[in-house]
């Protein structure tokens, strides 16, 4: 069974989300099954049209686009959190699957972890 890496912090204002993504990429690099779950303010990673040129940070939109290529199995987004932050399904990349973050979801993974 796979590991679920959970990101509940928005990009740019903190580094925890990036460090969570690094964990997921590392697992995938060692052929360990891993999926990502965005929940709470973390769903702001998934918004399209992020232009980071003014804050001198790499766009996480691009980082995340590479996730399926690097072998990350599923990119999940909590439905209620997306509604809360006004992220409608058409805006989500094809690789993102809307889900309900609950006990049944957690039960599908052998482990779940935050980066901080």
């Amino acid at each position: 069974m796979a590991m679920l890496i959970i990101i509940d912090q928005p990009p740019y204002g903190g580094w925890t989300g990036r460090e969570a993504l690094d964990m997921a990429f590392s697992l995938a690099a060692f052929d360990q099954p891993v999926s990502l779950l965005f929940i709470g303010a973390g769903v702001n990673w998934l918004r399209t049209g992020q232009n980071t040129s003014g804050i001198e940070q790499k766009s996480v939109e691009k980082n995340l686009a590479a996730a399926p290529v690097f072998g990350i199995e599923d990119i999940l987004a909590d439905r209620i959190s997306c509604e809360r932050y006004g992220i409608a399904p058409p805006e989500l990349a094809d690789s993102v699957v809307l889900t309900d973050a609950n006990a049944e979801l957690l039960a599908q993974y052998s482990q779940a972890a935050f980066a901080g």
Binding site: M3, D22, M23, A29, F30, Q32, Q111, A113, F114, G116
Partner: protein, 138 residues
């Protein structure tokens, strides 16, 4: 899983000493696990948790010295303590090797901690019965 059989734990600390309670909670957990006959496979410091491996941390003399206390525990029980290299370099924690590589003025890694990649975490995660995370409170 029978909790009376010996098991092994990988502990991941992501909260910094003196900013969070994470290193001290983790140390109490580690001591209890050893006392119950289990093993600590390794301790992995990630994110702000890497500050625990700094040789320069200097708390007032009437406060517990968490980096020193952790170093003593690791030596006594021969547990590897590894700080994530990406987290460490960004936050100014370097060993002699990285000091030379980046031509820095000093190194500040406390023995017996070492610096290595996230692969150490992945390996601990595969080998251990349980991987536990000790986060900050923010």
């Amino acid at each position: 899983m029978n909790n009376l059989d010996p098991h092994s734990f990988t502990l991941v600390i992501t909260g910094a000493p003196y900013s969070t309670q994470a290193p001290q909670t983790a140390l109490s957990f580690a001591k209890a696990a050893i006392a119950a006959g289990h093993a600590i496979d390794r301790v992995f410091l990630y994110g702000d948790g890497i500050h625990l491996a700094s040789a320069l941390v200097t708390p007032p003399s009437d406060e517990p010295h968490w980096p020193k206390n952790w170093a003593t525990f690791l030596e006594e029980h021969e547990v590897p303590g590894v700080a994530c290299i990406a987290s460490a370099l960004r936050r100014g924690l370097v060993d002699d090797k990285e000091q030379k590589r980046y031509e820095l003025d000093a190194s500040n890694l406390r023995a017996p901690f070492t610096i290595a990649g996230l692969g150490e975490w992945v390996e601990g995660n595969i080998k251990s019965s349980r991987t536990l995370y000790f986060h900050g409170d923010r």
